[in-house]
């Protein structure tokens, strides 16, 4: 009887500890001294590999500064974009910070920040493909990135069901840069891609055979954390606001985009 009582007591205590368990996500990151940022390292100018194979980009500059203000070191961990949620939930990375669109589904699965940059999902096409509007993609071969917002839009949004049915074939690429090369070589006719990426990359490609056709959806970039890591997310958000106020974000944005296009809420 005594033993049973002890068992019940222990159980109650452990349950109590569970219920009272605080969100120590911020403390955990500060204790291990690193913030592990997960990214698809083929997403310029947000996060990608430069000529020396170093991971660089707008997001990387922002995150480096955020990490240093939180007193930790930033570690960049490339992941397969279609497996990013698994990598996050298994604790291999602490956040996904790589020009990730805020979608209802992702808000359901992760603790997302507010938007820190605006983007559009665009249709780009080869200039000789005869595609001048999204309806012209009927019967054509269209590329997207696997696991991207563009893929979700074309595959699941009601508004695009008819368009999806008319497209000849949708090719899902591992990353957008491979898709851009394929578009340039004429292996696909059109590509659904983030405006931010396409503008930056095409400016460097010295190739005017790829043209913007039209925008499909407005889009916002946010940072994703594990569903329960609210304390960590809030700390990163607060740091970003602080950086917006003291002009750090404007300076970083100037470097990558030539102007301040950040949407971090200052008020």
């Amino acid at each position: 009887m005594k033993r049973l009582l002890a068992l019940v007591l222990v159980l109650m205590l452990s349950l109590g500890a569970f219920a009272l368990a605080e969100d120590n996500s911020l403390a955990a990151v500060q204790e291990k001294g690193t913030l592990i940022l997960g990214l698809d390292d083929s997403f310029p100018p947000m996060g990608y590999r430069d000529d020396s194979n170093n991971i660089v980009g707008y997001d990387i500059d922002l995150a480096t500064e955020v990490a240093s203000r939180l007193g930790v070191t930033l570690v960049c961990q490339p992941v397969d974009w279609s497996a990013k949620e698994v990598e996050l939930n298994s604790g291999n990375i602490d956040c996904i910070w790589n020009g990730m669109s805020i979608t209802p589904e992702r808000q359901e699965n992760m603790a997302m920040t507010w938007s820190y940059m605006n983007n559009k999902i665009m249709v780009y096409a080869k200039n000789d493909s005869g595609i001048a509007s999204k309806e012209d993609m009927a019967g054509k071969v269209v590329g997207v990135q696997a696991g991207s917002f563009a893929e979700e839009v074309i595959d699941t949004y009601e508004d695009y069901a008819e368009l999806r049915a008319s497209i000849g074939e949708v090719v899902a690429y591992e990353d957008y840069l491979t898709a851009l090369i394929d578009l340039q070589m004429g292996n696909i006719d059109a590509l659904l891609i983030d405006l931010v990426v396409a503008q930056y990359k095409l400016a460097g490609m010295e190739d005017d055979s790829i043209v913007a056709v039209e925008a499909l959806e407005d889009d916002n970039y946010g940072i994703g954390f594990r569903k329960d890591d609210i304390a960590l997310r809030d700390a990163v958000q607060d740091t970003l606001v602080e950086m917006a106020k003291d002009g750090t974000i404007a300076a970083i944005s100037e470097v990558w985009f030539g102007e301040d296009i950040s949407t971090v809420p200052v008020a």
Binding site: S42, N53, D80, Q184, E206
Partner: protein
Amino acid sequence: MSIKYFNDPARLWGLTKIMLGGVQVTLGIFVLTLILSIPLGMLVALGRMSKRKALSTPVSFYIYIMRGTPLMLQVLFFWFFLSQSLPFKPSRFAVVVFSFALNYAAYFAEIFRGGIQAVPVGQREAGQVLGYTRVQTFFRIIVPQVVRNVLPAVTNEIITLVKDTALGSIIAVVELMSIAKKQVSNSTSIEPYVVAILLYLLLNGIAERLCKTAERKMDYLRR
């Protein structure tokens, strides 16, 4: 498609340098996999040939799983399984080596089994007649002949292994293949692939040469 490296020696050297960094990782996977999988393969071969059903049946099942599923799937499975179930975080590199070692051990085991069974029973009997114990017979008479028998097939596996290291890129191990892919993306030029082709050929050229030398060394047994 424009030429961006082959007309610019400085840029080409820069590219080659970072890709050589990838070769180090590729070699690391290669060497560690061999060191682990050859002894393990030997044990698995012996287990597979055991007369005890309780041993040979599970070992056969292990070989069936390892040879019957794609190595890519095994790497992905082990990465997500181990990174969630172990009390510590394994490195991506370690998981690749782990999966490769298990997979290659299964192939080596079957090669070794064939090599052992190809040695005529008379050899074993002769050893025993000469007063060798079973263990002595195995190591002094059987094993040297097995090594000679299996070398060509092992060479084949070694060459395949050099190329299979490219699968490390699917769990983001920064080896030669993944650097080639990222640099093709970064430069929108396929020249990094050409450099990667040359580097893989170089690696396999060396591997082949070493295996050939070993085969020639073992030839004394043939008389």
